[in-house]
């Protein structure tokens, strides 16, 4: 009779993250890396050219790069690129049964793959933020901007991963949420802003992309959340989503065909 120990949740996490490590160094991983770094690189190249030509560089250019390019555009796309490479990929490739037939901690599998893509994406978000320093940002702003991006990426990636496990077209629902709901809510009554990722990102970063003008129809005063609370909300929200991913995988019978049975 074989007598092997049952792997602990941490061993499961470690096995999956290390096992799939080469995946982040492949095409999808480099696309993820390029998403935040490439636009900032372009900004730097353009400002360098303008400086050489003696043109004036707008002083708040780094804020536009941060809010419009990184926060509103690249970060959601990064989450939409990374989330399908998580446990959803194993379900679609029908490799998940080989993992489910092991005595590992099943609820830890989504987080094991997710943490890998989170770490890789977070690294390049920080690199992109460092590029903002060359565009005029301050070391203090860098700290808050990097924290805002990394924590929001954490929460958004967890949310996208959960949607991917709950819905077959999770990426589509995620894209609708990030690109329709988030911008729309900015003109809705104040407290609705608290159920957007942008609200917490801007609260941590300490700056806003645009103020809503009083002349705008339905315009509402924008509200802020204290930095500490905003950080806590994003961390807890992310953990909650990963926990729900784990619960969903644990509770869902997945057969060899990758589909659910009635059980």
């Amino acid at each position: 009779m074989s007598t092997h120990a049952i792997p602990t949740p941490f061993q499961t996490l470690s096995a999956v993250a290390r096992g799939y490590l080469p995946r982040v160094m492949q095409a999808r991983g480099w696309v993820l890396a390029a998403l935040p770094v490439l636009p900032i690189g372009l900004f730097l190249a353009l400002t360098t050219i303008l400086k050489v030509q003696g043109e004036r560089i707008p002083p708040a250019l780094y804020l536009s790069a941060f809010h419009v390019v990184l926060a509103k555009f690249m970060l959601p796309i990064m989450a939409l690129v990374a989330a399908p490479a998580g446990i959803r990929e194993d379900i679609e490739q029908r490799t998940i049964p080989l993992m489910l037939a092991r005595p590992s901690t099943i609820w830890m599998l989504p987080f094991g793959k997710g943490v890998l893509w989170f770490g890789w994406g977070a690294l390049w978000l920080v690199v992109a933020c460092a590029g903002l320093l060359a565009l005029g940002s301050s070391p203090e702003a860098f700290f808050y901007q990097a924290a805002a991006l990394v924590l929001t990426y954490w929460a958004v990636l967890a949310f996208m991963s959960l949607l991917g496990l709950v819905f077959k077209r999770g990426t589509l629902w995620g894209a609708l949420y990030l690109f329709i709901w988030d911008p729309l809510v900015r003109i809705f009554p104040g407290n609705l802003q608290r159920i957007t990722f942008v609200h917490y990102l801007e609260s941590i970063a300490g700056t806003r992309s645009t103020e809503v003008a009083a002349s705008q129809l339905l315009a509402q005063e924008q509200i802020s959340t204290p930095v500490g609370l905003a950080i806590l909300v994003l961390i807890v929200f992310g953990l909650g989503c990963w926990a729900l991913c784990g619960w969903k995988l644990q509770a869902t019978p997945l057969g060899l065909a990758g589909s659910e049975s009635e059980g």
Binding site: H4, P7, A101
Partner: protein, 307 residues
């Protein structure tokens, strides 16, 4: 050791496995799951390997339900059907991850990987990426992952698909050795000859039902009762027909242009006599085509027979 008590499996409205009961005893041995495509072999395997819970009834492996039960899963090795692997990984890294997910660590993990790779003959090629491996090599790696944690119960779903004859023989030899070493092996196939080379105990499945359980001889006897259609092409088809009507096994005869189509029982008795008749020049034969020697036809016949 393995006990099913009216265990069934549904996929929505579709019944994958009707209420099924059987027991397999403790100790080593090989049991064949035989049935045509769609017979319920994979459904049964998913219940046994703990991937799916039964929709009704009970499944007991080592005395416990296997579904999401690490204590049972640590003693099961599964080789599912199909050529599926995570993209972008190589064999060694994937085996290491699978070993760790089975609770192996440190030197025990290294030794297990090496032992499993030697057993399947992949010790020098496991570092290749899956996309660079042949189908047969990937099948061997899939077998290796099931052996890593030295399971007491090994479940293999159509393991010979895609293997060349040499690899097939090697795998059969490996399975026999494991069974002799005390491992219980359940192997599914839709080819009787394949299973018959491995085991004398067969579970015969058809359309989600356990049709028969017994030795290869008993199953062969059941199969022999099914008349097989043979088309014998000959320039002297009438002479063939005259010879055929003298044979006890003949059930039906019809003539086609340049051929006689015979329906015969017990083809294993009939065919050697036909061969002798051709060799001794009694029958001028141009071609022999079995028309319905596939398992589907045999199983259709068996179900009618049982009804």
């Amino acid at each position: 050791m393995i006990r099913l008590e009216r265990a069934s499996l549904r996929y929505g409205d579709i019944l994958g496995l009707s209420p099924t009961s059987f027991e397999l005893p403790d100790g080593g041995g090989i049991t064949g799951l035989l049935g045509p495509n769609g017979a319920g072999k994979s459904s049964l395997i998913q219940l046994l390997s703990g991937l799916l819970p039964p929709s009704g009834g009970e499944v007991g492996i080592f005395g416990e339900s296997p579904f999401r039960n690490p204590a049972v899963l640590t003693r099961i090795g599964l080789v599912p059907e199909g050529d599926r692997f995570p993209v972008g990984l190589n064999g060694t890294r994937w085996l290491r991850m699978m070993g760790e997910l089975s609770g192996l660590t440190g030197s025990a993990l290294d030794e297990s990987i090496q032992r499993a790779l030697v057993a399947v003959g992949m010790e020098t090629r496991a570092q290749l990426g899956f996309s660079s491996m042949s189908k047969g090599m990937r099948q061997r790696i899939r077998m290796a992952q099931a052996l890593l944690h030295d399971p007491d119960l090994l479940i293999l779903d159509e393991p010979f698909n895609g293997l060349d004859p040499e690899a097939r023989l090697n795998l059969m030899e490996l399975m026999r050795n494991l069974a002799l070493g005390g491992k219980r092996i359940i192997v599914s196939s839709h080819i009787l000859g394949e299973v018959a080379q491995l085991t004398d105990r067969i579970l015969l499945l058809f359309r989600g039902r356990l049709l028969a359980e017994g030795s290869v001889a008993e199953i062969r006897e059941l199969l022999d009762r099914h008349p097989v259609e043979l088309r014998i092409a000959s320039e002297a088809a009438r002479q063939v027909a005259r010879w055929a009507v003298e044979q006890d096994e003949l059930v039906a005869l019809r003539m086609e242009d340049g051929a006689a189509v015979l329906a015969v029982r017990n083809p294993r008795d009939f065919l050697p006599r036909l061969q002798d008749a051709v060799v001794t020049g009694q029958l001028p034969l141009r071609a022999l085509d079995p028309l319905d020697l596939n398992l589907d036809a045999v199983f259709q016949y068996l179900t009618k027979d049982h009804a």
